[in-house]
Structures are given as C-alpha cells and as structure tokens.
Symmetry: C3
Subunit: 259 residues, 3 copies
C-alpha cells in the first residue's frame, strides 16, 4: 500500500485501537488517534482487558508508568491479540531504569510484538548495546542505533522503529528513514508514546513495516505543518493535532526515504 | 430556573464537584469545570472518597477506565451522596464491552444516580435495546435512542441524557433537545466525560433535569463559539475552554428546544 | 546565584526530575518541565521508584490523587532522596480533606522535604492554623498565611512557599515575594502542581530558597507573557507553555522582591 493509501484508509475505516499506555500519555494519545482519524480505547483492568482486545483492530502497549496490575493486563491483552493474529506495538519506555522494568520488558518482547518502537537509547539497550539513556530521554542518536535496530529486528522478528530527529524503520533487511517534524517535538511530553499508538492504528490496516513508516510520516508531516504555525511548545501541541487532521492524504510520501 | 440563571449561578457560586472519573478525562474535565466557573476535585482512594463527598455540591462518576479499587470508591461515594441527598451523575462509558463493566454499571445504576448520561449506544444498551456501540464511540444515532432514554428514565427514576449531534434530555415525560456544538467535538477525547462532570456541577445548583439541559447548552454554546475560531481539533480544544469561560450568561437558551 | 543565572543553568543542564504526582497534573507537569528546559520522569511503582530517584537531580512529591501504593512509593523515594542528599519538594494538596490524607501528609513532612509548597489554606492547615480551605482551592489569602509559613519553616527546617496572587517564600527568617502571573492561572488545572515540579527542577541546580523563588518567578514571567496573548483559559494554557520556553534568561528578576 502506498503511504497516501494508508492515510486515506485510516481516515475512512477509523480502526479501533486498544491502548494500554501510561498516565502521562493517555490524553494526548487519545487526541492523536482521534485527530489522525482512528478510534482510541483505553482499557487496562485485568478483569476486562483481554476480553476487549479481540474486538479491536490492533493493540498498543506502553510501559511508561508501569505497575503490577497494568503489567498483568498487558500480558493478557498481548496474548489475546496473538490468538487472533492482531498486530500489537510495544513501546519499552525507559526500560533500562530498573530491574523491574527490564524484566517486564523482556517478558513482553517474548510475547512477540509486531512492532517495537523506542528512542535510540531504548532500542540499543533492548538489543544489549551500551547506551546513554537517562530517564525517558534518549542520550544516543538514531544513527548510532541503526545497527542495534537491525539486530533486534532479526532477533525478535518484529519491525523495529527508532525515533529521533530522523526516524528509522527496519525489518532486519529493508529499511526506511523518515525526516520532517519540528524542533518543538522533544519539548512536548508523550509525543513518542502517541506515535506508538498511531503506529498500532496503521498496523490495523496495513503491514507492520508500512504501518511504522506511515505513522512516522504522519507525525513528520503534522510536525512540519505545525512548526510554521507555533510560537512555542504549547501552541505547537495544539497545532500538531490540527496538522494530524488537516494534512492531505498525499502528504506522507515526501518525508519517506526507503532504503 | 431559566438557563441564563443557571449559568450565572454556576459562575457566582462555583460549586465544588467531586469527580471520580477516568485517567484520560481527568485533566480536561478539571479544566472544563474551571473554565465553566465550577470547582473540581478528583478524589478516588477508598480511604477518603466517601468522607470527601458530603462537603461537595455534587458527585460525578465515570467508569471510563474502571478498576476494582476505583469501583469501591464509586460505590462508597454514591452511597455518601445519597445519604446527604446530593445529586450524582453516572456516565456508563462503554459499559457493554465486558461482563465486568456491565456488572459494575448495573450495580451503580441500582444506587440511584440523579442523572445518567451516555451516548446513544450506551443508553440503548443500558435499557436492553440492541445497539451498535463499538469501544467508546456510539454506533447509533440520538434519534434512535430517544425511546430507550424515555424507558430508562421511567425504569430508574433518573434524568437520562443522550449525547450526540443533538443532545436529548428526558425525565420519562418531558424532554428537551439541545443543538449547537461543533463537528470537531467527536475529534477531541473526553468531551462527553467532561460534559458529565459539568452536568454534576449544574446539578449542585438546580434540578437534575435543568442541570442536564444547562450543561448540554453550555457545551453547545462553547462549541459553537470555538468552531469559528479553530482550524482543527487541537486549536478547537483550546478555543472550547475559552468559550466555556467567555460566553455570556444569556447564551444558553438559544440552543435549547423543550418538548 | 542570581535569578538570571538559575534560568540559564536550568536550560543548559536540563536536570532530570523524578515526579510522583497526581493523575490530573501529570501531563501538564511534564509539559511544564519540558517547556521550562528540564527533563521530567514520572515513575511511581514501588518496585522501582526508590531505585530510580538517585539518578535524578531532584524529587517532586504531590499527594493530589493519593492512594496506598503511591504513598508507599513516595515514602521510599523520599528516603532514597534523603540518603543521597537530593532535595525534594512536597506539595500537600488538600491535605485537610480527610484523616487519610492528613496522616499521609504528616508522615511525608516528617521525612524532611527541602521545600513545602502549598496554597494559603494548605500551609495554614499544615501549621495548625485555622483555615478556610475547600477542596483543592484556597479559601485564605497569601497575606494571612505568611505567619503560618514562617512558623512552618521554623518547625520543619524546610523552605515554605505559599502560592496565590502573590507568591511568598520563606526560610523562617529571610523571605521573598513574587508577583506577576495572570488572572487565568486559577482557571487552569494543575498550575500549582506543576509549579511544585518546576521548583524541584530548580532545586537540582541551586539552593532550596533560590529554587522556590526562581520557579515562582518563572511562572510569574510566563503567566504575564501569556496573559496578553490569551483570550481565555484554553488559549492561556498553550501560551503559558510557550512563555515558559520563550522568556529570556534575564526575565525572572523583575518579578521578585526579596525582604
């Protein structure tokens, strides 16, 4: 599917996305999906999460504010997704900050996400490469993480997406780079988390590789749109959501270089 | 009380509203109440929720991201509200997506909310009517839900409020329709949830029926105000909060048709 | 350090701040820190919170939506901060609304925060002075709370910061008043909570007293900047974040009167 087709399909089919994400990102992720054209649902209770997953088009799991009951729901929903061949995205936020998070992340990776999305430090640490991550911010460049991303894709069978100034997507063989965006993006919280959820939305309608590329391109295009309309991070936040909704179906492709 | 009076009274008395709501809607609901002129308080721990409720003017319960400890607090606060004859609003978000949520919702309805607010699919499913709900979005029209709303009002004794392009409020006999708003509203998360909390704020100062009508009209007027000032869902979000604060006391009535 | 120096240092060193805060304030607090130039991390699970604290520059604890597992993490992280001589800020949100919250707050105060920040009613109630607090809003003026603030500083050894139309900072002997801001600030949720987190960010780079003064002055300057660009509370919210990022390094001092 071409990138123009994916955005058009997203808007016309409005896939329902099950998000089990962190408290900080919830509102912005929901607004990102709605602005982009998809339909978000945040459901995390163990009593119902796995019952809900199969009626969705995809699942997005983000460990940003992990705790035990949420991890239970993540596991159950990931299994429910796998049982139905539904794609799911793992965002291993800051998985290197504690033994607890590292173990949880390893367990989730073993449950076979279709796509793993992280910043350079997260992807490098996940692959076992030495990284300079600090808190939730990356201390490494996407360029440095490309090798780790390829290896991680080969190790896990997942599409790996490294986010940064230029985003990089790889299946271990083919890859794509997505430029664009805005220098305000790192100054707005939950941008990366929301991209993970939008990636899941695209995964409901196309292949995991094309989903990662389309979501990154949608962010790049909306970020570029908003950059020229924003004075700072607050007005950028609002303009970015406008851009997600207003860019044309044909405005994803210019930001993508397939390699 | 006329609709102009309710808005004026809300702004001058600033009722304190106890909100037990979902994680996605918390910030926007608090900002909605503050912009409208009320005072929000989010308190959900079972150790204190029921102790806090009686000092408030009304209670708003929303099951959007339900879990066991929160349900305990909802029950306890609903009982505390009833013991003091404080009105409380139930928003049965997506109650049809799991057995867990259905049971929780049935239990809360049995605790006699003064107002039940939902989208068409939620109200129809609550009444036992076949619905086309999917996730948190309605698959049915408000028009289709009017009969179910009237029956639900008669079954429960609650005012029933169905939200959509045109909102409908009924006590089982008299009813009102509220038009207005903006096509961007369904593209901003937690709009419906925030309306539930604002309805509770109005219920602190007027009858449940007039509270539902006034809150819907306040949203309609602010949505209309923002529609002409917004480029997309992000700028609409900001302009909507501006509108809640800036519309005149006399700007609710034009959106209401009582039947 | 002069106030110009603190803002410049914040922006150039971007201190990592561990925030254990309430659900309503999380997104806005993270955006406040990012806009101001610091780096937020929300980590609350007892399994990892205390392991994470020592890699940060400071800790911010806010009891706005307190619950048992979160209180456990707050205690553990406060102890971890103390063990490393990391400064931490306590925001005792509405601690007077329940026995549960009062007890939790007393326990946290005993763990020796470097800075206690609250509105007038919160500070007065913490000191044992009769107050008129209601929910999360102050029913008292900052002026009325100055005596209580000085006593509380002397009792606890903490810098005490009272927020309101004019903010007041005292160490029990010397004090400072910070004017500025905007009448829209009380109409946007989590402004006070976010100020607590920004205060922690400054505490990572300067003395607790200067941190409280700088954070309050940064808010005053950004609020003033945004006031002239905002139509209402929604547009103010966005413009305020812009202002935090855009004001010059030398724009804190004019708002501060040291006494």
């Amino acid at each position: 599917m071409t990138d123009a087709n994916t955005l058009h399909t997203l808007r016309t089919t409005s896939p329902l996305v099950h998000c089990i994400t962190n408290y900080v990102a919830m509102q912005f992720s929901a607004n990102t999906l709605l602005a982009a054209g998809a339909s978000p649902a945040m459901v995390h209770a163990t009593e119902e999460a796995a019952e809900f997953t199969p009626i969705c088009g995809a699942l997005s799991i983000n460990i940003g504010t992990l705790s035990t009951p949420w991890l239970d729901a993540m596991r159950a929903s990931a299994r429910a997704a796998n049982a139905q061949d539904l794609p799911w995205v793992l965002d291993p936020v800051a998985h290197f900050i504690s033994a607890y998070r590292r173990d949880a992340c390893a367990e989730l990776v073993a449950l076979k996400p279709a796509i793993i999305k992280g910043n350079a430090s997260e992807i490098m640490a996940l692959n076992g490469t030495q990284s300079a991550g600090r808190g939730v911010d990356s201390g490494d460049s996407v360029k440095d993480a490309k090798h780790a991303a390829r290896m991680l894709a080969n190790q896990t069978g997942a599409i790996v997406m490294v986010t940064g100034e230029v985003d990089h997507v790889t299946d271990g063989t083919q890859c794509a780079d997505i430029s664009g965006g805005s220098h305000w993006m790192p100054r707005v919280t939950a941008m990366g988390c929301s991209l993970g959820s939008l990636t899941a939305a695209y995964a409901a309608i196309t292949t995991p590789f094309d989903a990662a590329v389309s979501a990154a391109a949608h962010f790049a295009a909306a970020g570029d749109w908003a950059q020229s309309r924003a004075a700072g991070p607050g007005s950028f936040h609002a303009a970015f959501l406008d851009g997600l909704a207003l860019i044309g179906d044909d405005q994803l492709a210019p930001w993508v270089t397939r390699g």
